[in-house]
């Protein structure tokens, strides 16, 4: 039997015991595999093992950071950085989130708020972690400090505050200007000042002086990581595409948890080379690629495999997404560390106005030769769902490209209708095919 490519991919997030239960309906050939995934698995394991060791070593410090928080600042203070969002994505991908969500709901957290938050807090309340099954790690690393940025939503603030109370550790945050159309120096300045204040507070917390050179170095590495990750994602503009959005959801791990390190830069160098080779050799991620779609919104973590299979069967490649693009920070500039961090972390798609998002999506449609837009309306993530203020219809009018809305969620599968989603997707591809 040929090795199952998707099994290898998800094994980074999902423990082997679950993988054994996956059916083998879609077998991809050896040549379809992105081979770098083996290295990725090693990187992910090392990252979590190092965090685990750091949390047990009194001489090492652990910081929790929101996924688009100022990680470089923490790295400059020698923190080992843990990202709760990656942990909760593991809960989603392993389809265990719904086991934990009710526990947080019982504590007064609404089932309508971020299911990343509710599943993560629920797992903590049950004294369980997705890291146990995936990496053999018993507990999430205990934080010495928590740091968030509201550039993605307000929920991260409440999520991190829960743990600040629980662990009795300091919490620091950046309150970003949100939903801005044209960002100005005034906006950047307010974030820059907050970042500088955080640096000062971190000096007190760590009893360690801030070293600008160190921050410049981390920022340089983050910039290189970001540029390489961008190059990786841009390979999907080739027809056929050498990778899918579902691949991107797995391979984005270093950009999220290891930006600011050489490991991430090296990984994306390797991945980019492999993908370029695939393009040269005409190796498509989806055999006989007939349609190219764009995914807008969060992944449905527990259905990555099912959706990847369905789109493959329909000869449709989801070539790009706003989600994977979220970790491209082209404006990092080591010469202006605070200002450029403020700029890069505030300019994010998720943090912008509707008209700014429209312009961005129009560019994506052109760049990736998109035939159809797929919007995920995530029930518990209104901040990263762009179906609620008429954007899909406006973009349809602007581009002439049809769209489909999928009503689901990032982690809470109780709000996911399998049959209805399947039929919607199939009917949408039939529409693209002119049936």
């Amino acid at each position: 039997m040929q090795p199952n490519y998707y099994k290898k991919l998800v094994s980074i997030f999902i423990p082997n015991t679950l993988i054994q239960n996956f059916d083998d309906r879609i077998e991809m050939t050896q040549e379809n595999q992105i081979k770098s995934v083996h290295e990725l698995k090693k990187i992910a394991t090392d990252y979590y093992q190092n965090l685990d060791e750091a949390s047990k070593d009194p001489h090492k410090k652990v910081a929790w950071c929101s996924s688009v928080g100022p990680a470089e600042l923490l790295l400059a203070f020698d923190f080992n950085v843990y990202y709760p969002e990656n942990h909760t994505a593991i809960l989603g991908a392993s389809r265990s989130a719904n086991k934990y969500i009710p526990l947080a709901v019982a504590q007064g957290y609404s089932p309508e708020i971020c299911s990343y938050l509710t599943s993560d807090i629920g797992a903590y309340l049950k004294n369980e972690t997705g890291l146990q099954r995936a990496y053999g790690i018993e507990k999430v690393p205990k934080p010495d400090v928590l740091i968030f940025n509201t550039n993605q939503c307000r929920d991260v603030q409440d999520w991190f505050n829960y743990y600040a109370r629980e662990f009795q550790v300091p919490i620091l945050g950046v309150n970003s200007p949100t939903f801005i159309d044209e960002l100005s120096n005034t906006h950047f300045k307010t974030v820059e000042e907050q970042l500088k204040d955080i640096a000062e507070t971190l000096e007190k917390i760590t009893d360690q002086s801030f070293e600008r050179k160190k921050l410049e170095n981390k920022l340089q590495l983050s910039l290189e990581c970001s540029n390489k990750w961008n190059s990786v994602l841009e390979t999907a503009s080739s027809i056929p595409s050498p990778l899918t959005f579902f691949d991107g959801c797995i391979h984005m791990l270093p950009a999220v948890v290891l930006r600011g390190t050489q490991i991430a830069v090296d990984y994306y160098n390797m991945l980019e080379q492999e993908l370029k080779l695939r393009i040269e050799n005409g190796i498509a991620a989806v055999a006989e690629e007939s349609f190219r779609c764009f995914w807008e919104g969060m992944p449905i973590w527990g259905k990555l495999r099912a959706l990847s299979n369905q789109f493959s069967e329909l000869k449709t490649c989801i070539v790009a997404s706003t989600y994977c693009n979220s970790w491209i920070f082209s404006d990092f500039n080591p010469q202006e560390p605070f200002r450029s961090m403020a700029k890069a972390y505030t300019e994010l798609f998720i943090n912008r106005s509707e008209s700014s998002k429209e312009k961005y999506l129009k560019k994506m449609v052109d760049k990736f030769s998109i035939d159809g837009m797929i919007y995920h309306n995530a029930r518990t993530c209104p901040n990263n769902s762009n179906t609620n203020y008429g954007l899909p219809k406006r973009l349809e009018n602007l581009t002439g490209i049809p769209s489909l809305q999928i009503d689901a969620d990032l982690n809470d599968l109780n709000v996911y209708s399998e049959e209805q989603t399947k039929t919607n997707i199939e009917a949408f591809i039939e529409q693209l095919a002119g049936i």
Binding site: E396, Q420, T423, A427, E430, Q431, G434, I435
Partner: protein
Amino acid sequence: MPNNFLFTGIDIGSSFTKAVTINANKNIIGSSTIHSGIKLHVAAEKALKESLSAKSDEDNIKKMVITGYGRKNTHFEDIITSNITEISCSAKAARFVYPEEDVTIVDIGGQDSKIIKIRDGRRSSFKMNRKCAAGTGTFLEELALKLRIESTELNNLGKLSTNPAKISSYCTVFAGTEILSRIREGAKVEDMVRGAYHSIVKRVLEIDTFDNRVVLTGGVIAHNSVIVNIFEELLEQPISVPPTPQSFVALGAALYALEGQDK
């Protein structure tokens, strides 16, 4: 193509399975509607047989297209079959029944509602209701259960109403609670029924915009003509209903079978 060649479309819905068989001239030679039950393959076989006028006809079937929610659960050994979604089949039937017209199809089924738009001879968009059962046949079944009446009586009761009760909840379960409140307030049964019909139409009207010829199809329309009147009332325009609204999707599937349209 020989005249005795036949083509069948089978639409396996959540409540009913419908079959339509046509000949090479696109004339309907038979149709059937039976309860889907839980054995979808059995329902499909039965619907097929009942759509044929003579036993020998089955041998003349050249191709079948199966659609609807059970489309992937059924196959026939001796007949070439393929499956296409009910959305595409509905659009196909619309292009056949209303040729060269821009049409907005509203299909209200047992478990979902759909709005499908045909523009310039092509399907330009479609939308389905969200996960909730509001705006579908299930809502009416729940209502009949709550009022302890047969669902077949609802349409006649709805026609008698002069003062529809207000049922505004999005949720079928909450609507049930609202009905209890209306009962306590002394509302007439026919007014509650008409109010429930209004509620369904309002939910459907929220799915998309409505323009050009609006065509209502599906089992709920076939058995509840009151809904057509309410659509006309709220949209302030005449509404079209094809001759066999419940078998509309199956007709589209049969047309696909004839054309050999496959994926």
